[in-house]
Symmetry: C2
């Protein structure tokens, strides 16, 4: 999902500025499977405006840049739906942690333990954020998508917790 499509999606829910779009991507139900930085969002919004997929109205502010509030147009809605309808690209799950684990035999035992702790903590956080987002009233579909992510995170956590000590024990045995 490129940033243009992400922007269109967010704008189907409500009008927003570039700044607000970033916030919405970070919070709630969009994370963890989409991302967008300012450097990508602002140019994307300009291109969408040129293409007439969104319209802008500026709101003057004192001592601050004007708020540029974007709304999706009918053409934008059609383009967005069209992009969801055409065959989706595959999920891409890049995990430096999992990759590192494959080579854990090259790493000090202590460091592996730290990495595991950090990863578990991080996954717990992500899960908590998803649960929080889920608490707010949502459409059934959003609930569904959120639940899918929660299921994956919860299973990962359970696996890590139950295999952590085992792994250490086995390594200790192997060291004898």
């Amino acid at each position: 999902m490129d940033v243009r499509t992400i922007c269109l999606g967010i704008l189907t829910r409500a009008d927003a500025t570039g700044y607000e779009i970033k916030k919405r991507v970070e919070e709630g139900g969009y994370r963890p499977f989409v991302e967008a930085s300012f450097g990508a969002i602002y140019p994307a919004l300009n291109k969408l405006t040129k293409d007439r997929f969104v319209s802008v109205r500026a709101e003057a502010q004192e001592k601050r840049p004007d708020r540029k509030i974007y709304s999706i147009t009918e053409a934008g809605r059609r383009a967005f739906v069209a992009s969801l309808m055409k065959p989706l690209t595959e999920d891409r799950h890049r995990s430096p942690f999992a990759f590192a684990m494959l080579f854990a035999d090259l790493l000090p035992e202590q460091h592996i333990a730290q990495m595991l702790d950090a990863y578990i903590a991080h996954t717990e956080q992500a899960l908590a954020q998803l649960q929080q987002a889920d608490a707010k009233p949502k459409s059934q579909r959003e609930h569904f998508a959120n639940g899918m992510s929660q299921a994956a995170y919860a299973a990962t956590l359970e696996y890590l917790r139950s295999h952590r000590l085992n792994g250490e024990t086995r390594t200790a045995e192997a060291a004898e």
Copy 2:
């Protein structure tokens, strides 16, 4: 994990040509959390050679380009371990499917069903591949990393299967 690091990792296991590195990334335990294309691998190997992290020996072949067999050097091993030791970047899970599901209310019911079926089939395949890779003798660590991915996939599948019909029923009710 950039392609250079991925190449180094593969080469810690065994010498390989660029072509073989690609194959090993696609098969077995590396998928689904790493990827690398030829257009990335060959330049990466050239850079690694320049940096003395790998060495090459060419094997002449008739009617085919020479096989260039790469070996990791001591310096390469150290660089690889160092890159695993420094703070890892976060996992990035980009899921066009999950994103599309968030906006499923904009899509025809039939199309959603198709997307779900395709995604379930795809996830089943990925899980099967992981289980297959796991059947071959592996180090404990590789088994651990593989198991983590399997747990996540299995949980996702279970979730999708158990919520699929519910989703359809609810939608049918909502349509009345």
